[in-house]
Symmetry: D2
Subunit: 439 residues, 4 copies
């Protein structure tokens, strides 16, 4: 992580921010029973209770222990370590759902003790010491915000395994913004020039992850990017055209993936008579055609882009565009908890932030000159830089303020349980011509 925001923060500011983020986790979990919080539906997902304990472990291990604070429960060091080899061995990931003990209440108590200990430390540290600790606190809070999103995607996946399809959030769901039919237009693209651009966090952005650095030069050919996200309507057209059964639309591994798993629709879609409904955090509901497509793998994103005569944007293209926009959008605090139709169908590039994570064509690689942090913290991002694809922009489950133009999320190409959607791009006319002349 990197935290270069030079403004000095007061201890009270640090504590307030800490408690706000920590409380948000508990608020999200509070809609779930102790039994719900036990569920682990696949090795990639973790129980909500585990998320609550692991994020606490993070502060205890990386902040409190170096300050000399004794571990609350020494065996938690083992139970709630996720993947930090430098910290030591750990409970097997697929067996996180086996931890009925410590109980729901004990984990709550653990959070409480660590929070009080963190407060004590933050308020009693010397000024210099505190400022040195701030980047680590920021990392811990960004980490916790990531787990807040995972908590939601994981409980959605778990509830989907229950034939009764429980809703995470009951009550009336947010109405989708309806677009009058007359307004529906063919897809619009906006052109960008490319050239020699700068990519990565600038160093004046406050906290950033190490994988966003160093800022470096990239040469971009001219390109055009879609102003809107791919919609459920377009996915239905893809399906109706036999897209899932047409190998020429797919990467070879993608076609093997959907064939091998019998996939013929986005995750959580299911037939309902002649149509389709989708399962979400507010239960089963009709699919709104104008809402952004979500819960597709990179393979499906790549295939539907080809079907629509386009391609995915590269992460560089995406960042160059996003850097010109403000970071507003449909984030978790709207409580929609699903992507929404665009508020207006304009000429500007919309919905870059929030709604759905956008698969890019870029594989997740270190930036030139990248160097992970020293020590166990260096395992945060760097050791995962293979076989994954970058996603950008955050989603309707992401805390507001968590993402930025340079933020890089990453998942394996077959991932479907995240809130993942599609942004199209095309080569500029000039670029295409150049490409062709040289062949």
């Amino acid at each position: 992580m990197e935290s270069s925001n030079r403004r000095i923060r007061t201890p009270e500011e640090v504590v307030a921010r800490y408690l706000t983020v920590r409380a948000a986790t508990e608020h999200l979990a509070s809609r779930l029973s102790p039994e719900d919080q036990m569920l682990q539906s696949m090795p990639l997902c973790s129980p909500v209770k585990w998320h609550r304990a692991h994020t606490t472990w993070f502060f205890e291990t990386f902040v409190l222990e170096p300050l000399g604070v004794r571990a609350v429960f020494p065996h938690y060091r083992h139970l709630f370590n996720s993947y930090y080899d430098a910290i030591g061995p750990r409970h097997a990931r697929p067996k996180r759902g086996m931890l009925s003990r410590p109980s729901f209440e004990e984990v709550g108590e653990y959070r409480h003790i660590v929070d009080r200990s963190m407060q004590d430390q933050l308020l009693t540290l010397g000024k210099q010491e505190l400022q040195e600790l701030v980047p680590l606190i920021d990392l811990g809070l960004a980490h916790e915000e990531q787990h807040q999103e995972l908590l939601l995607t994981d409980i959605l996946h778990a509830f989907h395994e229950n034939p009764t399809l429980p809703a995470y959030r009951g009550g009336p769901s947010t109405p989708s913004v309806r677009i009058p039919a007359a307004q529906k237009r063919s897809r619009a693209f906006k052109a960008f020039d490319g050239g020699l651009v700068e990519i990565g966090a600038s160093g004046h952005d406050g906290f950033v992850f190490d994988n966003e650095t160093p800022r470096h030069k990239v040469w971009l050919a001219p390109f055009q990017i879609a102003t809107a996200l791919v919609t459920n309507r377009e996915m239905k057209a893809f399906m109706a055209a036999g897209g899932y059964r047409t190998p020429s639309l797919w990467l070879a591994e993608g076609f093997d993936f959907v064939q091998g798993h019998g996939i013929e629709a986005p995750l959580y879609w299911r037939r309902d008579g002649d149509g389709w409904v989708a399962f979400g955090l507010d239960g089963l509901r009709e699919i709104a055609d104008d809402e952004p497509l979500s819960h597709v793998s990179f393979y499906e994103a790549d295939a539907i882009a080809r079907f629509l005569g386009a391609r995915l944007a590269s992460e560089h293209e995406w960042e160059v565009v996003a850097a010109t926009l403000d970071r507003s959008g449909n984030f978790r605090d709207t409580d929609a908890l699903r992507p929404l139709s665009p508020p207006q169908d304009g000429d500007e590039v919309a919905q870059m932030f929030g709604d759905v994570w956008e698969w890019t064509r870029s594989s997740y690689e270190p930036y030139p000159g990248y160097r992970p942090a020293e020590g166990a913290i260096g395992e945060y991002n760097g050791k995962f830089m293979v076989n994954q694809r970058v996603l950008r922009g955050g989603s309707c489950l992401t805390p507001r303020g968590h993402v930025r133009a340079s933020y890089r999320n990453y998942w394996h190409p077959e991932t479907r349980f995240q809130m993942t959607g599609v942004r199209l791009a095309v080569d500029a006319q000039g670029a295409r011509a150049e490409g062709e002349s040289s062949s």
Copy 2:
């Protein structure tokens, strides 16, 4: 099931017995939190909550529904069906642990409603109708008693997946009966004549399962049976002699099994310095050498028998001997919850009932003339008669009164998570000589 006990039972007797068995289930579960009751550590095991619901479903489906009582929660028909194809499709077995809903409380409520409904029915049915129903009630209660034992074996397996090794039952554990060293003698066998014997339930035994019938003639060669069970001391000798690595002691599939899974001790044993400790329902404890060996597969039972110069008893041999004994023993009501050292080391065959289920050399087959019950209930036993081995005698986790001389339990030969031990037998001298002369 078969229930030929001719004595007429009063409605109050039937109700009292029903409520007693049902309450025992809840008592066993009451030591476990809602989270504990969610655990499913492998597809063969079920969550405690599921056991509580499924046994209730059994009465609702097979008793109340035919009497015209409406299902409490119609979707439970699907959720809590175990394997009855005639009832319809069902929730996938490996995903029983995904059912955070219905909650712990809802399952308790379900039990309560069904129990009240059962009482209402039993007390208002005509005398004739009640008597006709008794065999089905008896089956449902025997079924619930089986699940009481499974509830314990399954939670033991689940707790074993938790690195903190929680104990099902805390407090001081039952002291093992210690045998003065001087009393330890070489193994004693008792001889039986064989000849034409009758095997199977006699029809005067009260309730029996259909797989214990019909009673039929079997010719038995003379044999000798061990008066005591194989002990932990003998297993340690087997291990010290390299028994787990000596192919000549094993069935070929057995050797592949232990090699392929890296097995070198009974399940739940683990090294502790130079020695071994074992995990049980009262947590981790030192292994008492004189206590009966348990948690071994049929393969290990077969191998240690060969190592000790003997073989497993056949189920017929076992039954002939057991029929001469009373059914007392270390059952669940002693609350030892583990097999105990023999109270005395006498000349009589001891510990045939209780302590550990005893693997026999017999595969689980229908008796000549066997005919399963009509309808869905016929799926109870008959359809599992392949690739399994018969076990006899009940265990320290079995409710007292549940088993009898003709009772046939069955598991696949690789099963280790049940309370399974070893009884030795040998051919009588005469039989051996006869076998040799004919070759």
Copy 3:
């Protein structure tokens, strides 16, 4: 093995028999190219070249080496050991198809050298020594005959993996004996009394395997056995009635097996327009309705028996009946290489020997008093006595003279690549009544 035929054989007789069996193997292989002889289509099957080498290894290891003859190629000891742990480690079974070296020619040379060495030994041994060796020679030859049958079943399975479906034996195929429609009658059964019978080899039968001994008493209830085998016509009726999709006809593991593997017909059957054709050693041909059904698993045999209102015979029932018949039948020397329609449709039990191996309801267990041979040879049969079912009678691929009434073949219940069919039985009326009264 056991060989109690007291008649003294001359060295020339022993040699002549040895060379006859050995030549038959080479004759069977001679229809196949070196490339064909490399094929291993699944771990259970072995390449033809391997069969040729392994049977030779058997004589070298168990006969020549103890006589002090040096191994021809010392590394063959490892390459061509099948499963004899006492001999030492061995080449992994699933990788037998990786042995392009030794070549086809080298294996031929190996056979030649060992055969010459065997001749030398047999003709120069003292009289006493020879007689002591005869049981081992007989075992080696019975072993080679078993591999002759496997060679055919394995090449059939391998050729089935080739989309061009090569025929093992070209030319016009044996015409099926056609039965005039008028002669087709409903299935006939013949009644037997049961009682106390003797089972197993008598000791006056010449060579027998150890698993056929010792002869022992068994009590049999009265039963009836079908005079004819189940036919392809009956299988078509089973399929037309949805038999493969009706759980109540199946053992639970059987239904899981056919569902899990998408099985909806016997192995080697395939749709041809509206009908079915079958692949065999003479290629693809129309299915003759009156020919015996083959290539079904125990599970399918059990299910079709239930569909037809009967059950499989026990191995004891089968043996008691077979002991009254002569051993003639459609064996390999007819060169039909497939089961044939019964020559006449009479009242007598027919086709007990030859045509198809008949699944019995009996699991493969040691007989009371069974004791395997000493040393490595003792691994021949005994260590496989778990999870398998007994088959009786030999098939159209079995060498004439190889089987007898007491002969026990065994395979896992899911086996379909062997020449396996179905013989029905039912309980006698009296037996049924007795069974019912006791319940």
Copy 4:
């Protein structure tokens, strides 16, 4: 494919080149028996006979059929299609080893017929038609050259499954060039400036694959590249230091890979007393410390680079350096068939071509503006652009003239059976400094 070499080739030149390449395949196969040519040791590998048939199928399908020439054996269209969905269904890849038919001779005959047909066509086509066909012929020949290398890597893998470890090429092996100890120096790097460079085939290079186009601009930071390849000596140091067991040296998936497969040395290395020997095309031989390391996965390449304080080069860095060098090196025509020690240990970047394919840090992605060819041929490269890593430079098994500076090979990161080695790079001092200042 792209073939923009404007020089007109005569029909005789085209035929001569065609026959030369085709003959080389047969020469490589001629060292192997028909049985050897059947071997398929894993799904990723193909039998030599299949390679010979598939490369022929390529010309028949893509050149002869469009010219109206009837297929020699219509069912080969199915049997020898590798992965072209547009051509139709195909024989399952893991079952290529099941094709004993067509025989070795029939495949030879097939090659002969197609070659004659190709000659006929090439010599009788009009001038214009021929020139239009040349790019496709060039593609077919480049394709055949790729399969020549695969033929060698696949037979090496197959022979490794045979406990007798046959050598592909007998006789005395090429002596390794020995470097006097005094000459051994610490690793040298050569610096390059980076900046805005052009990457990809220029259009004046003769035949290139479509994945090398279009040529495009890339911004490169300054870097240094190792003048020599990583050696076996360095791998031994890595192993001695516990490199295979040190998670901090690995990508997380890489560490899981080596742990999960028990990998502790390069493929084909095996212990020999205290040391190590390696299996290669000339059999088992001592490992020469100064020879380039080969048969490592991307994961191992990445880990040993980190161990040595460096990183892998990017494919762009590699290409910029290689473009300044001539294409000489240790290719297949030296008949060494293994990588050799560097002839001199100079200041210049050496062994960029030949010896071993060099893993780069770059994932295999389409170049900006990339567009696959129309039709089935478009499946050649494009559909594999996910989850793979680019390798550069060719190997000792690659035909001379086959590779060039812009040539992109690709394999999954766990691939070890190819001739794969390691080239180190480091960031230039300036670049590092820049990277650090921006964080």
